[in-house]
Amino acid sequence: MSATETEYQHPLMKAYWAQLDTGFKPIGDVFEDVMAEALAILSREGIDAYLEAARVIGKLGRGVEPMLAFMEEWPSAAKAIGEETLPEVMALIQRMQKSPNGKAIAPFLETLAPVARKLHSQRQMGHYLNIALDFMERTTGSIHGHHTTFPSPGLPDFFAQAPFLLGQVSLSGLRNWVDYGVANYRSHPERQKDYFSLQSADSRAVLQRERHGTLFMDVERKLDLYLRGLWRVTEQLVPYSTAFDEIRQPVPYYDKLGMRIPDVYDDAGAITGLDRYRATLAHMVGHRRWTEALIADNWSPFQRMAVEFFEDCRIETLLSREYPGLKRVFLALHPKPVEGACDEETTSCLRYRMAMLSRALLDPAHGYADADLLEYVRRFNELMAEGTSNTADIATLALSYVTRTRRQSDQLAKVHFADTVVDYRDDNRQMWRFIEESDDEEMFEKEKKRTDSEEIKGLPPRHYPEWDYRSQTYRPDWASVYEALHPKGNPADIDKLLLKHGALAKRLKRILDLLKPQDKVRIRYQEEGSELDLDVALRSLIDFKGGATPDPRINMSHRTDGRDISVMLLLDLSESLNEKAAGSDQTILELSQEAVSLLAWAVEQLGDPFAIAGFHSNTRHDVRYLHVKGYGERWGDDAKARLAAMQAGWSTRMGAAMRHAAHYLEARPADKKLMLILTDGQPSDVDVQDEQLLIEDTRQAVKELDQKGIFTYCISLDPKADEYVSTIFGRQYTVIDNIQRLPERLPELFMALTK
């Protein structure tokens, strides 16, 4: 039977079918069903518009899928956002049709209904369509001068992910996420696809950043303080992702490695996400404190479930005894199953009965009337009135409850789940011990694979964000910094350098002596000062009365003269240091070595805590940070040996190195923190085409450091530095044109800065 031969009995249906004017067979198959739905939802005009739109989509030449998707999706979408939205939707489809993105029409229409249900309003839908349109226009490519020939690689994936995305983030979050992807992967079709299909790591990271609710990473310290302060527990908190596991939502649990909790909690009614975290943690703390493991082998899953419910309630009763205010939070989060909601004839109601009982055990105002339930609430309360009770006693009570209330229907496959999930409770895996691992007879000793764990060289990398000035956002965890001790050379080389600059050192020494710290001093014998020096004043007065000339210097004042400065010297060790300095036969590297050794000597004389580190980078995945001298170290042979072995290579990813250096400097207790950066060129790296990007990132790093109370100062050896260095460092820089004078200038500069 071909579609044209379809005979509809009802004249109206016939007219609709004619209006649709299509030859697609699959449409004919579903036509009656979708029309029934459409007629129930759409108005008269709506039906006309619906059929007309479907007809247009059918004639686009994109096959049956777009039309089928539209026919099936639109009625329920219209229910959520109103049928007046149709022209806007059609406008986007037309735009896609006219661009090379026709392939994206089907994914767009297929997810239209779920998206509409998440957005609720026409206005919101308009925003969504705008985001999609904007995305399409920015990524539809003209590569190598071709004109709009390549379809947007990420658009179909984006539409496919849209319902999920909107479940996680708000529309503005979605826009940020899209902007980030477009900005960074416009010219990488494959990586763009990865990004928009949520395959790549940074795609997930950016999404995480945009999520609504209380993010774990934002409240980690508060939770840590909570555990420590209220429960005296120090435990590793490990977040798990809730975003990517739609089918089986993970449940909190704890094991030897720490407490596992979701990475984000939305507010639940009046209870904030933070309080939900606290409730979850409190529950786990309670288990750790009061639950003893039981042997699970002889009990059925039902029995175990009942024991868990009872035990959870015991724990929460005890927790509420400790902190009565917790009860309010537990009750607000605990579901309240409606009595009689579960049909015992057709459904397994065990879960439902347990949830109801659990509610009743916690909430004296539960209002349930079931006789068994009431009896067990009473028995539970009696047990708890005696003290803390214990897991074994509670288990006995739970088992007898299961036996008492057992129904034939408990075995049914259809389980009543509504209002039975208590989401702040953990999965109780610590409560059970299994003697046999499994009932299967075929159990073999597990072959223990010996993995030759690779010897770890150096520390694991630390990740730092990088500032993207175009989108004005951070790229999360963008640069990986590997730190290590600098290899050693011969310390005598440095001593030789110092000897060579003996005269200079002598001159510096004089300045240094003036700078040496003298602590807070009281200056007496002042004509003007902050307060009267009583003893001197009296002496003067006695002189005066005695007829002698009194000393008028009877005041004293205070001067703080302590130096409390921590210094970090960060050396750019990029390839360009190997070049010969202008008008000299020494390389810039050699001159830097001389300068740094003199500076180190000078700072050692002053006694300021002082660290030296070098950095270079080979793409964002490999930024190396080499310690030459640490704060705890003296300026001795070890540090000198490392300085002597200094070598130059690769590029200059300055921002990441500065952030890393800052995390050391930040931990110093000093009043003033100074970071000196010695560099010979602008920040750059081989994986960055846009020169401005790393300059802007470094500038951002300077701002961050400033907020942390770290004063940054750049000593640039690049005669052309004026073009960019003031962009980065504001006025906190010096350009040394005559590099040969660097050994002299560097210590002088330092002293001038810290005087």
């Binding site: 302060g229 309080d275 205010g325 003893d535 006695i542």
Partner: protein
């Protein structure tokens, strides 16, 4: 010089002090032998109250000096003052105490500069004398005289530690906040708050003390608890009283403040 009114330094009314251990007996033994005493402990744990109580118990006058950075040796020992027809020597509190046989209590001694504290040295060993170099007098300490100092080893920096030569002239008491039960009793006795409410306050204090070293320099002291209890007694809503007296004074750290606020909410159902 005997014109000094001893009575004004006497502690007339028994101060409330709840012993945590055998410190009262030990102090009495130290006093019998006129050994100098040092009392250490966190702020607001009852150091000064203890000294006051002991003075009352022994029936000796007590002269208290709150030390500060601006204090000079003259402020302790004494100085010449001018009068219409010449100068007059005025004894400092330390000199007075040595003359009349009082207990001289130097509170928070590390706040004073180190050169100042050296003047107490001759009084603290077997010599028991105080030379007044400006006046050219050597005072033999009265047989009843005793020197007591207190300091808080918790928050002082390295700069503000006592010299070894000073430390080693004293016998020492280490004070800490009393345990929960005792602190509850103290709170109830001191303010008249009922025991149940007092124990809730103590619980909040323990929350804060657990956080010491994790963003808090000092936990909530017994003294602050007394403030909170006093406010509650006056009819202030307990939560507000706790926030005002216990949390706001001790921290500016938003995370800690929120955690402690939560502890308050969790404690008062």
């Amino acid at each position: 010089m005997s014109s000094i009114d001893k009575e004004q330094y006497k502690v007339h009314k028994e101060p409330y002090y709840q012993a945590q251990g055998n410190e009262v007996t030990l102090y009495e033994a130290a006093y019998r032998n006129r050994l100098p005493v040092m009392v250490k402990g966190p702020t607001g744990c009852g150091k000064s109250r203890f000294v006051e109580y002991m003075a009352w118990k022994l029936g000796k006058p007590l002269i208290t000096v709150a030390c500060n950075e601006d204090m000079t040796a003259s402020d302790l020992v004494g100085r010449y003052l001018l009068e219409a027809n010449g100068t007059r020597w005025l004894d400092g509190p330390l000199t007075t105490a040595a003359r009349i046989g009082a207990i001289c209590y130097l509170d928070e001694i590390v706040e004073a500069r180190q050169d100042t504290t050296v003047v107490i040295h001759p009084l603290t060993d077997h010599r028991r004398v105080l030379p007044l170099d400006k006046k050219g007098e050597l005072i033999e300490a009265h047989p009843d005289f005793q020197l007591v100092i207190s300091y808080n080893p918790g928050y002082q920096s390295l700069m503000k530690d006592l010299k070894q030569s000073t430390k080693q002239r004293f016998t020492g008491f280490d004070f800490d906040y009393p345990d929960a039960e005792l602190e509850t009793t103290i709170l109830a006795r001191e303010t008249g708050l009922d025991e149940a409410a007092a124990s809730q306050l103590v619980k909040i204090a323990h929350t804060a003390r657990n956080l010491k070293g994790h963003g808090l320099d000092e936990g909530i002291s017994t003294r602050l608890l007394v403030y909170a209890a006093t406010l509650i007694k006056d009819g202030v809503e307990p939560r507000d009283a706790c926030r005002m007296a216990l949390v706001r004074p001790i921290t500016d750290d938003a995370d800690i403040r929120e955690t402690l606020d939560h502890a308050i909410d969790a404690t008062f159902a």
